[in-house]
Amino acid sequence: MKEPAPNNQLRDLPLVKAPDAIWESIEAAMDASLDAGPKPKWTWRPVWAWGIAAVVLAAVGAGAWLITRPPRAAWAVDRIDGKITEHGKIEVGDWLQTDASSRARITLSDAGAGDIGTIEIAPNTRVRMVASRPGEQRLRLARGEISARVSAPPRLFFVDTPASTAVDLGCAYTMKADQDGNGLLSVTLGWVSLEWAGREALVPAGANCRTRPMIGPGTPYFDDASQALKDALGSFDFDGGGTSAADAVLAEARVRDTLTLWHLLSRVEGTDRQRVYNRIVDLVPLPKGVSPDKALQLDRETLKLWREELAWKW
């Protein structure tokens, strides 16, 4: 008789439910095994540790930056009279305002050049420190009047106004701006360049220049120019006076007013330019090295040389 295969014998065994006690003993054994065996690689505890380390590192980094960072650029502010909105210093973005009876003084400093001058803030004036970085110190004059005395390399100190930017070329000057943004620059020492949208006026000591929003700097003129010349210039620069206003300027010009005519040359065209040229040459003979053709073509180097020579007569 052939014995049945073991598989068949197993198949024939009856199914019997295991007693509950077996499952309990299995679970107990598994728990014991988990406690005794190796820890899983990722658990909540290492994540916490990394987090704390990151926070500590960030705190140390921030502390080191706070200790070693360069001091925030600031200008010293001194009250001269009355009450002012800031006292002690102003930093980039700060406004400084004076009322009808107050005045203040700002001491300008540059990281590279050191103390570079002072600005006196007149009553009813509002200014803002716009930038202070090596090679650029910038103030905004929103309205009112400032008097600056700057002893710095050229093109380091700038005053933005609603109608132009005054660029220091080694100078002392007063800048005014009214509520409408109209301005007046008066230079007492050295040179200031007034610039706006590619239009430029070079203003020497003893001269003034008016500015208008959306037009920029007008034509510079000396304090002692005739009132008729000043009026005609105002008409030419800002009221569309055109050729008739330019003619009045030419008629009134003295030797010293070649400052005005030199600027006018590049602001007129065609026969008007030829007439301005002729008037300058009538007043001061053309110096050596200045070509008439190049001057009339507004060659930059020629005009610069001509201005430098004319300045000896101002």
């Binding site: 002893s151 050229p154 050295g190 000591a205 300045a311 000896w312 101002w314």
Partner: protein
């Protein structure tokens, strides 16, 4: 002997030629150019340029302020500062004094000399009263310039 004179004359000719027409231009400080450092001065200042001098490296310039204060003559030093432009200087008074003043400027270019009496007014140098000379000014010329300046004040 004639030959020696001729040789000497030929030797001196270049030096004389290099300074032929040597003179001074006087102008406002702004004539010294843009970008000059602003220096606080107590008195007036003006610019001087050496003209027609081909040997600027050997040229020399000096000056003193000469004044008339309560009818008494006074002298004071001036500051002469070379600018970035060859042969151009800015001359400044170093003291502010009452009375009337001129600045006596002397310059040499080789063997050539030039001078100027620069009249000083309340607002700076007075162009109309300034005299440029082909030599150093004499004491009499300085006194005369001071007296001319004193007259309008009376």
């Amino acid at each position: 002997m004639e030959m020696v004179k001729l040789i000497l004359a030929c030797a001196l000719l270049p030096a004389a030629a290099s300074a032929a027409g040597f003179t001074l231009s006087i102008g406002p400080p702004v004539a010294a150019g843009t970008g000059k450092k602003v220096t606080k001065t107590v008195g007036a200042s003006f610019a001087v340029r050496l003209e027609e001098c081909e040997a600027l490296e050997t040229a020399q310039i000096s000056g003193t302020a000469e004044g008339l204060v309560d009818s008494a003559r006074r002298s004071a030093p001036v500051a002469i500062v070379a600018t970035g432009s060859p042969g151009v200087y800015v001359v400044s008074e170093t003291e502010e004094n009452p009375g009337v003043w001129v600045v006596n400027v002397n310059a040499t270019c080789g063997k050539a000399k030039a001078g100027a009496i620069v009249a000083i007014g309340p607002q700076g140098f007075l162009r109309e009263s300034t005299k440029v000379l082909p030599r150093a000014a004499t004491k009499a010329e300085i006194d005369s310039a001071l007296k001319a300046l004193e007259k309008p004040a009376k």
